[in-house]
Symmetry: C2
Subunit: 182 residues, 2 copies
DNA sequence: CATCTTATCGAACACGATGTTCGATATTTT
DNA sequence: AAAATATCGAACATCGTGTTCGATAAGATG
């Protein structure tokens, strides 16, 4: 990839990240972004078709960076009771979030949240597919999936809302405490 | 209120409800709405400042209609264990939703969901304030609130997603089954 | 280094949606 | 019947979007 392309792409991402700290995504104009990024109008449009596609791609790339590594169920873990293994992996996810606090909490907060949350759910469904299936608890399968994931997303939103005060372990403990059992 | 005002207001609401079945809210234009409602452009703007305000008010009015009655904790109920009273009241809420299935599922589904969900949460926080406070379960108060309400909203979204197949009692049973205990 | 390639620039443009204005008309209230 | 007010609708200004294109600059290639 041409260096110039990399440069502008980074400039756009950084501009958006910076602007998201002041304004909601929907309130931003393309003009705002290209001014902040200090690039030409047509350049922006040669990289992204629309403003929404920009957010979309930024979220996607962030998820790739943040969660690309080692989130498949690690071998040799305790899945017998289901408890310990899941807790560990959830904790792991939260640590990744904490590391990328800046980018993520910039996106969250507006309604751009939607896009982020969509990717987050997708990721969780994949990453925890194994523990979500094969697990009879007397409720419909799809409901259990949606409930467990939805309430975890809710937990993370709460955590971020508090400014990530608690350590991930505590957060997961709270989550599991509310869920009762997984 | 002048009859003419009532008429146009209803026409607008009905137009929006009808259009929401085909398109997402964000994809609708004011022109679409006033065409469907068969009113003049300036008339629309004499009723609502923006399209968003229309959605806002429609949600508000719907909530007033749907949940205005008898959702305060009824006297003489069993709140000792906490279980039965809450389950009954949640069931009650779901019945109200089912009655207004048409309007609500029209709003849900797009991103207009946001607005609806906001009102729904607000309502739940008020209606269940008593059971949400004074309830020590070893997790932070605000977390417990957000978790219980958030996961109930999630449950309702799932329910609506299935086309309201289950009866409210079953839905609440599932919800409580997942929560373990309240 | 010379040349080819490609990205950026930026002004200009067409387009679509928004929200306002105002005089004419129709309906309701009193 | 008269006064008040809501609707109509065309016209308008404004703003954001996304496109186009020739000129310029920067990078890739040999």
């Amino acid at each position: 990839m041409d260096r110039r392309q990399q440069k502008t792409r980074i400039a756009i991402y950084e501009a958006l990240t910076k602007l998201l700290k002041k304004k909601k995504f929907e309130e931003l104009t393309v003009q705002d972004i290209i001014d902040e990024a200090n690039i030409g109008r047509s350049t922006f449009y040669s990289h992204f078709e629309t403003k929404d596609q920009l957010l979309e791609e930024m979220c996607r790339e962030m998820f790739e960076h943040v969660f690309s590594h080692d989130l498949t169920p690690e071998s040799g873990h305790d899945f017998s009771g289901g408890h310990k293994g899941i807790a560990d992996r959830l904790t792991h996810v939260l640590y990744h979030i904490k590391e990328h606090k800046e980018n993520i909490s910039a996106i969250l907060g507006g309604e751009s949240e939607q896009t982020f949350v969509r990717y987050f759910r997708e990721f969780l469904e994949d990453a925890f597919d194994d523990v979500l299936t094969h697990m009879n608890s007397g409720v419909p399968d799809d409901f259990r999936r949606q409930f467990i994931i939805g309430s975890f997303v809710e937990t993370v939103k709460w955590w971020i809302g508090t400014g990530l005060e608690l350590v991930p372990e505590e957060v997961v403990m709270n989550y599991i405490a509310m869920l009762g059992r997984i």
